[in-house]
């Protein structure tokens, strides 16, 4: 039987959909049977990111009882299966999202991983995604408003009997005002599953003639590397998460040279700086033998 993961955040715009799409494909690339479900019933856009916005049968039809979930499962890019949510405002108004848990339970056995892209906020649609999941991965940015919102989502998830198992910190830039990963872990009392750096390649994935997840057209990008590490962690492979921070002067020179080169600079150069280590072991992550997060600043 597969495991259902909800990717939730509280705050919008933290990258849930992007991480869901790329993580799903990363898991599929490891030979797992993966189903992505756009559980954002009101503001669906996972289908846009996967380039599958014109699917005739959607989750709306399933929740309205007009179609079976099997009819709404499509073959997506990178070997995943995908259930799109509808874009129609009319059907959204008629949908009862409370049925989602039953609908997801009906296909759990057919997949290794079911990833639900939850909406932002803590309203009914979010609750339906959380209650339909076995585990919840909370996505946040390393800034206080995002952390405050993800904390509320954690409280709601626990209230609903869902199990928040870890955090994915997205848009990590290693800037001075960012909250340190170990502080985020302590505040939210959860381990970090991945630190995903801010990556221009992710932004550019939305600016292509044919939109597709970054993992498919730029598999060596920094963000994809981190997402692959999260996939390894979910599949039970021990992994070390590394975020490399550049010296500001080298970063500036790289940016300067990039302007003349007219292409993104390669960021291979690393600087010797102090090393902080945050180690946490949690009962909720039984399959992982080593859980170390290493941050190079």
């Amino acid at each position: 039987m597969g495991t259902v993961y909800a990717l939730a955040s509280g705050k919008g715009g933290v990258g849930k959909t992007t991480i869901t799409a790329n993580l799903g494909i990363a898991l599929a690339q490891r030979g797992k049977k993966v189903l992505l479900v756009d559980a954002d019933i009101a503001m669906a856009n996972l289908s846009l990111l996967l380039g599958m916005q014109s699917s005739p049968i959607t989750l709306h039809d399933v929740l309205l009882g007009e179609s079976s979930l099997q009819d709404a499962i499509y073959d997506g890019p990178g070997g995943i299966s995908f259930v799109p949510s509808g874009l129609s405002f009319e059907s959204y108004r008629r949908v009862d999202s409370a049925r989602l848990a039953g609908v997801i339970a009906s296909v759990k056995e057919d997949f290794d991983y079911v990833l639900l892209d939850a909406p932002a906020g803590i309203e009914t649609n979010v609750m339906s995604a959380l209650s339909a999941s076995d585990n919840v991965l909370l996505v946040t940015m390393p800034v206080s408003p995002s952390i405050a919102d993800v904390l509320k989502t954690k409280i709601v998830a626990e209230r609903l009997g869902a199990k928040p198992i870890g955090l994915i910190v997205n848009f990590v830039r290693n800037e001075k005002g960012e909250v340190f990963p170990d502080d985020i872990m302590k505040m939210l009392e959860l381990p970090i599953y991945g630190l995903v750096p801010y990556d221009e390649d992710i932004r550019k994935s939305f600016m292509r003639e044919k939109i597709m997840p970054t993992i498919l057209f730029k598999p060596n990008s920094k963000a994809v590397e981190s997402i692959n590490q999260i996939a390894e962690k979910l599949t039970g492979v021990a992994t070390t998460i590394k975020i490399k921070k550049q010296n500001p002067i080298i970063s500036f020179l790289n940016k300067l040279f990039a302007i003349f080169k007219r292409k993104p600079s390669s960021k291979k150069k690393e600087t010797k700086t102090k090393k902080t280590e945050a180690k946490e072991t949690f009962d909720e992550v039984p399959e992982i033998s080593e859980d170390s997060i290493e941050i190079e600043e």
Binding site: G161, K176, E189, L256
Partner: protein, 150 residues
């Protein structure tokens, strides 16, 4: 380009005034500590009291479908709540057979929901979603079905 040079100059001259908002973070940490509920208790009344706080409701009454009280947080009028709630539920159910939850808005919200041969009657300042109501009922039912020594 201008911004990059400006940022670079600010860093060189020590004019970068970004920092971690520690006060905010302390306040955020305190929120979580107020929402940690350990509901591992063998006392049913105590369990309902904890669930009241966890789900932010004023009263929880668990009744059988014939109106007898199984447990309640109400002091004194639990019998009245159980009989009225189940009578109302049975009446609505007879008129609208597929009804799952009854919501009544008075000064506060009265919510009635059946769950595994029991009727849950909850009073709260704001309405609970059916998802949250189900979660609450499940927590009580799980404990009852485990046969703890209540």
């Amino acid at each position: 380009m201008t911004n990059t040079i400006k940022n670079f100059a600010q860093k060189l001259l020590g004019l970068d005034n970004t920092r971690i908002p520690q006060t905010q973070l302390t306040e955020i940490s305190e929120i979580l500590s107020k929402h940690n509920f350990n509901i591992n208790t063998t006392d049913l009344k105590k369990l309902l009291g904890l669930l009241k706080k966890k789900h932010l409701v004023d009263n929880i009454c668990v009744a059988s479908k014939n109106g007898s009280v199984i447990a309640s947080t109400a002091n004194g009028n639990s019998l009245k709540e159980a009989i009225t709630g189940t009578a109302m539920f049975n009446y609505i159910k007879s008129e609208i057979p597929r009804s799952e939850t009854i919501l009544i808005k008075s000064n506060e919200w009265y919510m009635i929901m059946p769950y595994k041969n029991k009727v849950f009657i909850v009073r709260a300042p704001a309405s609970l979603s059916t998802i949250e109501f189900n979660a609450l009922a499940k927590e009580v039912e799980d404990r009852l079905s485990k046969g703890k020594s209540f």
